[in-house]
Symmetry: C2
Subunit: 398 residues, 2 copies
């Protein structure tokens, strides 16, 4: 491998990128993949450093066994790639703008010509079949343009390699966690009856982007979610201009972000005196969280966390029926999860040191909701470490 462009502002060391490449190539080997077409922007960034909001058009990283990766995308975005990827400039290639959102032609036709030019007329080509950024049409267009290629499902192949974080990555997640804490502190200070929700979101995002501890803030892969009262039964409502009201709970699902790395932290604020149902749910949920953190040890399995959480909730008569967490790290919209492990009773993935999860046992009942969550790091020994350090409880402002 030649000398690379580490004079640019690349987030990680060359060694870190080579580690990622080696892991990916080994996984490609196991899957019998000659060339890997990486379309998930999180995977592209993890492998190449590429960072830009260009994923609304087709783009990819191509990973080979015997040469550096290629960044491939729209012509106008090559300038962004040249500025952000660690590979040499000749590994950045663009397609003509007329391919963009044009029903008469498809960027995958250009990609196939490039592959042929690189000596791969009939590759065993890995493709991320279940991904926002590899459409059904892209799949068919690729198959039509490269009838000699063998398309192999590589869904999650890179995502699984991202599971165990390097020390360099954990540093970024800790910076994100400081931002998450700052956001929650701001919420506790500012949320009051009568304050419109959008004003609070404006403050959340201001806190998120100004950053913390001397580090700037990046955009999270999901916008703040903050439904109140009976709307908190719905996990994914965003906001409007209505005011917070006395007698209502609001959960705040937020994450600080540092250079695309996340550390989500959710807390609930009750304005007024919470009814007994909230107090009981809070107690059970905290007990479940603590049991889950105890179970979140290297050598245990993902399902062990889910079972540990479920026991106290069930004793309190609460059945969740949804997974209670997912891996986190580097991400682009629309999801800050890594889409590999799920913390649920069916998932027997063995936990390993360096894995990071959003332990997220949100309670979304028929007409109320409660979220108290932690972003966690699986350690060498002992229970999981929480990235954030804020009281694990429902906050009450009387």
């Amino acid at each position: 491998m030649r000398q690379h462009r580490f004079d640019k502002d690349i987030p990680f060391t060359e060694g870190e990128y080579l580690r990622r490449l080696a892991l990916t190539r080994a996984a490609m080997d196991r899957a019998g993949i000659e060339v890997l077409l990486v379309t998930d922007p999180s995977n592209i960034a993890w492998l190449t450093g590429y960072d830009g909001w260009s994923f609304y058009v087709h783009q990819a990283a191509l990973v080979f066994h015997d040469r550096d990766p290629v960044w491939w995308g729209r012509n106008q975005d090559t300038n962004g790639a040249l500025r952000t990827v660690w590979m040499n400039d000749d590994r950045v290639i663009g397609y003509e703008d007329s391919y963009v959102q044009n029903p008469d032609k498809h960027p995958m036709e250009d990609l196939v010509l490039r592959l042929v030019g690189m000596g791969f007329p009939a590759p065993r080509l890995g493709v991320e079949m279940e991904n926002y950024y590899f459409s059904a049409r892209a799949y068919l267009a690729l198959g039509e343009a490269a009838p000699e290629a063998t398309l192999i499902d590589a869904t999650g192949l890179v995502n699984w390699e991202r599971g165990i974080k390097s020390d360099e990555e954990v540093v970024f997640m800790r910076r994100a966690a400081r931002i998450s804490e700052k956001i929650v502190d701001g919420l506790l200070e500012r949320v009051e009856p009568g304050v419109p929700k959008n004003e609070i979101v404006a403050q959340i995002q201001h806190d998120a982007y100004t950053g913390a501890d001397g580090h700037w803030g990046d955009y999270a892969a999901i916008v703040p979610l903050l439904p109140s009262g009976s709307d908190a039964a719905a996990p994914h409502l965003t906001w409007d201009g209505r005011p917070f009201r006395k007698g209502e709970a609001t959960f705040f699902e937020i994450s600080g972000c540092y250079r695309r790395y996340h550390a989500p932290l959710c807390r609930t604020i009750f304005l007024g005196e919470p009814p007994e149902i909230f107090r009981a749910a809070e107690a059970a949920l905290i007990e479940g969280l603590e049991a889950g953190l105890e179970a979140a040890r290297a050598g245990n399995r993902a399902c062990d966390i889910a079972h540990a959480l479920a026991a106290p909730l069930e004793r309190a008569g609460i059945e969740r029926g949804a997974r209670c967490g997912y891996p986190i790290g580097l991400s682009y919209p629309p999801d800050w999860g890594e889409r590999t492990v799920s913390l649920r009773t069916e998932d027997e993935t063995v936990l390993q040191p360096g894995m990071t999860f959003h332990f997220m046992p949100g309670l979304w009942m028929s007409d109320w909701g409660l979220e108290i969550t932690e972003s966690i790091l699986i350690t060498e020994d002992g229970p999981a470490e929480c990235f954030c350090d804020r009281p694990r409880k429902m906050f009450v402002k009387p």
Copy 2:
């Protein structure tokens, strides 16, 4: 059609939703589609009112000829759908959480069971083949689960019906435009040498969400883009913690958003004395914009705008090589365009009153960039109306 739930906070009138449904059904008829599976969140919202950040899992609106649409998605998101769609509650159906991100099963299997239950074991089923939210895997899973169905490509079917905005929609876009103007005013006031970019982004988002003219602000489908100096050669870089510098131009690509409706507005700020190359480009670009606005008349074609823009740019020796705009309106990440018309020389779409575009002739050269853009409305007669009213020029702060 029965009485619907317009006691909820639905953005538009019942008449507006019925108009949209009628247009969609007519388009389905023309395409020979019996049931339309709408997976684009912008299309789902346009048809049903559904609003939530749940598009990172599979969900859809089903449109029929003879009965109300169905919202279908993850169980926990049915609570959000019940709160935001205009259809009756029995038109909201959810699938089990174990379908989420589970390689062993796919939500499309549930969808097919639902269709069978509704009397469609072998529908002529329209699917949005080229969409972020209909993955290659979803397409295959759907085909496997419903071998008797005929899948018909319905890419853009709903998007094309969204092209001509109703008066109700234009009201929302005008509110978004007020927010865009507020953001640009704030930039002119605050951008100075030495100010870190992330601090400016924090202010942009604060301005965006506090809203304008008494209306709250929603999140735009794209985050602010603001590359400086030679980085402005790259259209889609986001931000970091570096300060603005004297002698550099920065373009700001932003949009206010009101209830998912956008009115993007881009302006460039030069700190210091711009070199002649910027002045010449600015003059040519403004001339091109004005020519394009003149050409943006009902009865003319999309390509007429592109040609009108290109002439003065070419006289100044600038070749863009990219489309110069796209339709705008309601949108979810990752794109605020509608992905139908492209303002480019090959596109002969006839312009009609009520169409709305982001006329976006960004100049991204090898080591500098300049953006001055307008969101426009095609009127009954005369040139296009600009949604925003801010000086059409490069702003210079000496």
